[in-house]
Structures are given as structure tokens and as C-alpha cells.
Symmetry: C2
């Protein structure tokens, strides 16, 4: 029984959400979202490793350790980062008020923010909007919720999935925003995933770590990390399935379904990357370790020279070679193979000549390009997703005061 009118974070049983304009963004755009579970849910999260953690991140990190939550209150347009004690007090007060409206302690409400750094939240407007927001929550509210977390996103991003666990339907849903950053709406990735699964906490946490590592950590648009990056996963245990214990077959099935939701969200983030004209799928093979493979993928993904060459549809495999050599892991030039699509460009570290480069031009004209690098050093692989670097990226990120 697919719930056709529900999706994203309100796809699983017992979740309600809403979005509203609270006066943070201009022009009446939705900028305050609320996600509520009918019953207390297990909640786990992963947060930015940036040392400058925004106030809501600091608070959420603490509350996630207790592991029980009822609601997430999230705003866009203002990151509440680098706002000192005032920022902490604002985020605390906000969760207290939300708790008041939905009937739980502030400890069970997690705050999240995204937007410009260094401005205090317009608390009066936000608090004034809370009653209407908490009345608005419904099982169909995922679209407004997804819109309320957008900054430079051009479309709301949701995904949902059902999986049978012990004969019972378990639902998973998610909403995300990002990727890429812009002033005044600086931010990157916020991801909210919900499920009605009955699951043990350590199993839930393990699943989260796995999907973050395999999906969200394999995506790079500009290599920067933000003060607010957060991924939340709530499980309200309402599906009636037998308990999913860590390491069981059910756990693998649940994680696989979660992975598909995460993968779809990751792809939606990638497709909305600022100014992107090319979507690059990097496949690194033949590495000595997973870590080596990921380092090489990440270095290629961050190289401005590689990214601008793809923007220019320029068969410049030398830049890929240079990026591989710049990754800080042992490689041997004479073992390296590089291909774009199914056209090999380099074998044994040496270019295959002009004919192959001509063929590669056809591949480069496409918007989706797979770049395969075989290192010839071992058996490990990694995948990574990134984009080219365009004029449009510069225009968006040069802000409003520039020469744009």
C-alpha cells in the first residue's frame, strides 16, 4: 500500500511536517520547517567536522547523544553560526517553545539552521510564526517542509521507500537541501530521514554511518565544508515489524532500503549543484586500500583544473594524472589507466594518442560522464560524484555586489 499523497519525511507512519514563511527570507518564501513524530523516536545524527559549528549543531549534537526525540525545528536563510552566546540562547529558546506547542521537553526538540553566517536569528518573527506552524503540521506536509529548508536550491528534494521486514511494511522517507554555498544563503547539506521501523539504537546508528559514508561523503561540489552540515535519522518504531537487531539479515535489508533513499537524495543534491553543466561519476579501481581510492577520487573532484577542463569539454587527461599524483598516496605512473565513458585515454601512464582523444570528445559533450581511473596497485575501489566548474558557479558565489 503506497501512500500516494505522502512522501519524504512524512512518508513513514506517525510523522507530520510543515513549512511556513516566518520572515527570515524575503518575498514570502518558506523559511521555517517543523518535523514531528507522534511518538517518541530514536534519533541519531552526524554533523559537520568544521570546527566552527553553528549553535543549532552544538545543541543537536548534545541532544542526539541522549537519543530520544520528538521534533526537529529547522530554518533557512540564517545559519545561526558565529553568533556567540546569543545564538545559543536563541536556538535553546526556539526548541523550548516548539516543545511547548507539541507537548514535550526542549531536550526532545532538535534545532537546525542553514543560511548566512554571523547574523542573529530574527527571533520575534520566528516565535510569532510558531503557533501557525505547529497547527499546520500534517502527514502531507513534506513538500512544504522540503521547501522551507531550501537556500540556493532550485527545487525541493525528497525521497521515500518501502521495505518488508518480517512481513511488515517499513517506510523510510527523507528530505534534503544543498549543495554548494552562496552568500547571503551560505550553507551546504542538511538531510532529514525518518522511518517507522522498530529498530535497536546501535543498529540505527550503524545504518546512518554506512549511508553517510557511502552516499553523502562521496559527493563534492566545491570542497568546502560548512558550519551547519547535518544528517538526522529518526525511527519512531510504529511499523509493527519485529525488532531489527544490529548485524542481522533484517538490518542489512533495512540499511539497503535506507541506502536507496540516501542515494536518491545524493543524486538530487548533485543535480542541483550551483552552476553545474556536467555531472561526473568518478570510479577509482585497483587501489591498495579504500582510503587510498577515496583520497584520489576526492583530489580529482576538488581539482579546479580538472573541473574547468570538463566545463570546457577539453580532453585534458594530464590534469587528471596531475590530480592523481597530488593525492598524497603511493601510485605508479606506469600502471595507470584513465578512461572517460568507454574511451581509454591513458594506459601504463602514457597517452593513447590523438585518435582516442578525438573519440573522447564525443563523451565530453554529454552531461553525464563517467571517469574511470585504474591504479593497478591493488583490488580496492571507490566511487565519487562531482560537477564541473562553470562561469555560473562564479557568478552565483561572487554574491550580489560583484560584477555579475
Amino acid at each position: 500500500m503506497v501512500k500516494k499523497d505522502r512522501g519524504g519525511v512524512t512518508f513513514p507512519e506517525g510523522f507530520k511536517a510543515a513549512g511556513i514563511h516566518a520572515g527570515i527570507k524575503k518575498k514570502g518564501a518558506l523559511d521555517l520547517g517543523l518535523l514531528v513524530s507522534e511518538k517518541e523516536a530514536l534519533i541519531v545524527g552526524m554533523f559537520t567536522v568544521n570546527k566552527m559549528k553553528a549553535a543549532p549543531v552544538q545543541i543537536s549534537q548534545r541532544r542526539v547523544r541522549r537519543g530520544i526525540g520528538m521534533a526537529i525545528i529547522v530554518n533557512s536563510g540564517n545559519a545561526n553560526a558565529c553568533t556567540g552566546e546569543q545564538g545559543m540562547a536563541d536556538a535553546m529558546l526556539l526548541t523550548e517553545k516548539v516543545g511547548h506547542y507539541i507537548g514535550c521537553s526542549a531536550q526532545k526538540v532538535l534545532p537546525a539552521s542553514t543560511g548566512v553566517i554571523g547574523r542573529n536569528l530574527p527571533m520575534t518573527s520566528i516565535l510569532n510564526a510558531l503557533p501557525a506552524l505547529s497547527e499546520k503540521i500534517s502527514p502531507k506536509g513534506y513538500v512544504d517542509f522540503s521547501k522551507a529548508i531550501m537556500t540556493t536550491d532550485t527545487y525541493p528534494k525528497s525521497s521515500q521507500k518501502e521495505v518488508l521486514i518480517g512481513g511488515k511494511i517499513v517506510r523510510i522517507g527523507g528530505s534534503a537541501k544543498g549543495v554548494g554555498m552562496i552568500h547571503p544563503n551560505m550553507a551546504t547539506m542538511l538531510v532529514f530521514i525518518t522511518t517507522d521501523a522498530v529498530i535497536e539504537k546501535d543498529a540505527l546508528r550503524a545504518s546512518l554511518h554506512q549511508i553517510v559514508e557511502e552516499q553523502f561523503h562521496t559527493l563534492s561540489v566545491d570542497g568546502d565544508t560548512s558550519t551547519n552540515d547535518s544528517v538526522y535519522l529518526m525511527a519512531n518504531q510504529m511499523a509493527g515489524n519485529p525488532v531489527i537487531g544490529k548485524g542481522t539479515e533484517w538490518h542489512r535489508e533495512f540499511t539497503q532500503a535506507l541506502m536507496e533513499v540516501a542515494s536518491e537524495l545524493r543524486n538530487l543534491l548533485l543535480r542541483d549543484a550551483e552552476g553545474a553543466t556536467k555531472f561526473l561519476h568518478l570510479v577509482i579501481q585497483g587501489a591498495r586500500s579504500k582510503s587510498d581510492a577515496k583520497k584520489i577520487a576526492s583530489t580529482i573532484a576538488k581539482s579546479l583544473l580538472v573541473k574547468t577542463a570538463f566545463y570546457g569539454e577539453d580532453v585534458n587527461w594530464g590534469r587528471i594524472m596531475a590530480a592523481i599524483g597530488n593525492a598524497g598516496v603511493p601510485v605508479r605512473t606506469e600502471k595507470i589507466l584513465i578512461a572517460v565513458g568507454d574511451v581509454a585515454l591513458v594506459e601504463h601512464g602514457v597517452g593513447l594518442g590523438v585518435d582516442q582523444e578525438e573519440k573522447a570528445l564525443e563523451v565530453l559533450k554529454k552531461s553525464d560522464i563517467t571517469v574511470t581511473v585504474h591504479l593497478g596497485m591493488g583490488q580496492m575501489t571507490a566511487e565519487y560524484w562531482t560537477t564541473d566548474l562553470s562561469y555560473e558557479y562564479v557568478r552565483i558565489n561572487a554574491g550580489y555586489k560583484g560584477r555579475t
Copy 2:
């Protein structure tokens, strides 16, 4: 006695140089340079840490270990990188032929290349040009030499300096090319420095390490490293000064003069950075260690978000905060101060408000901007130089086949 008609690499006694068109670049541009010392010189060098070292880099690294050299042969337009055994054979043959013309063994000739990766050198053209090139060398040849090493450089880069050591004039000169990379002329930094100083080898090597660390390693245009980056320092001992021993006062004076030459070359490289409209001088203060300070400077310098914000003259200090937090070193938000020019924007990790941001706008309109970050963690400092990221950078690096 300043030698008015001499400069750069031919400023010191006993050095000759020339540049010629050997058919590597199109349109008759100079593309092959030769630098020769009348007498055997001590030679030290530092090379790219990229794992994909071009053939000439591999050969030069080996020959620098012996430490005695007579000449450097350098071409632009072709990096001779990722060219396999043929590339090694070509570079070897080239140095053998140069040795033949100037009368020394190939071991005393160091090869260097810069340009597009993955193409074999047009050896016939180059070898045909060698007789004319070796006849052309003269004490005034530094301008042609500097031109012959250019790729996307818009002007040749030279510097020279005299220093008195024990009552004798010691001369130092240098030529450099870079910075930033482009297809088909991919390359970054090549630096050639000469001196007639009488100096011990370990003192010379120490001086080189110091100037590379303090000058060339404090410059970032796009964060990439190339297959060909090299810095060479030759000392032919012809100045007649008392021997400069390591750690002596003379050594400090000599290194100081060398530092000034290196600093001037570094500035010339910075000013010619591809598409740059802003020159950013990053000053990191209050770090626990020099290494922490450099990591933070480097992370700010590489942040696309910081670089595009400066291009847009956007007072987006949140991006600087996020870059600081992304450097992987311990920092405390509440201790951080940020200023552009003499306008403070952040104190104790909190923004100082709209008035200060308005004032900062005036600073951002200038082409030279000092960004000061005080971490409040200790006593150590670091400086770094970088540029903004402009449309022009994307245009240049998107190559010729793109939408430019």
C-alpha cells in the same frame, strides 16, 4: 657597480643564457632556453611532490644529488610528462647534445620542461635548434631566457640583487614562470636562480630550502600541483668572496639577499595569476604552531567560496570562518578575530555588525587586500599570498573547445 645591461639569471658573474624558437610553440614564440655557467657550479634543487613527475624532473632530481652542474636546458609548450620511456630517452638525449655543444658531460646538464602533458617532445625541431641556441648564449641573454620559459605568463619574470660578503660584491639573479595552469600549456612554477657566491654546498642547500618554504610555498593560485614544478639554484663560486659557511653571519646575509630575489619573483608570479583581479595577502597570527598557521592560511587560500566572495567584493567573513574551521587544526570560535585591511569584522568569533561591513566594502574595492586572522591560541604566525577566482580563470582554464 650595478650591471645595467644584465639581469635575471645572467646578472651574476660567469652566467650566460639565451632563448630561441625551436618549433614547440606556434607563431614563432620563444620556447627553448639555455642557461650556462662558465665554470662548474654547485647546483641544488627542489621539485614537485606530485607523484607524476615529468621525465626532466626525474633526471634533474638525480643529477642534483651529485650537485655539480654547468647548464640547464628548458623548454616550454610541452611538459614531457606522462611520456613513458620515450620521454626519459628524449630528455637524456637533449642533455647529452647540450653537453656536446658547451663541452661537458650530460650529467652536468639539467633538463626542465613546462607545457602540455602527455605529448612527446618534437625532438627533431629541438635538436635542430640547439646549435643556434648554444651560439646565442650571452651575459645579456636573461630576457630571451625568461621569455622562452613562459606558457600562459603574460610577461617575463626576472629579479636580481647584489650583496656585499666580506667586502666583495656577490650577485644573485633569477627567472621564473607561472603561475596557474592552462591547456594546452599546462604547467605551473619553474624558477631558476643563479649566484656567483663562493659558498659551501650545505649552506647553499639550506638557503634554498628556506626561500622555497618562505616564498614559493606561501603562494597558491588554484591549489593544484603540477608534474613539473622545480626550483633550481646554481652557485658558480666566481665572486671571489670568502667562503660562506652554513650558519654564519655571511650565510644569513646571503640568504636574506636570496630571499629578496625570491620574494620579488613570487610577487611577479602572483601578479600574473590567471584571471586574478584581487591579490590577497593572508596574515595568520596567534597560532599554536607555524604549521597550524600555514594550514589555516592554505585552507583559506584554496577555498572557492572565499575566492569567489573576494571576486564579488562581498563582505562574506562567514566563509573565512568556515575555511578556518575546515583546516583540520584546533581552533576556538570565541577567540577568533578577522580583519580586512584595517577594518575588524569579527571579534571573539562574533561579527561586529553592519557598520563594520560597510567600512570593509571600501577595502574590498581595492586590488590589494590584506586579510588578518588572529586565532588567539598562541604566538606563531604565517603569511600567504593568493588571488580571487574570476570568470577569466574559468575561461582560460576551460580550454579552447569550450563555451568561451
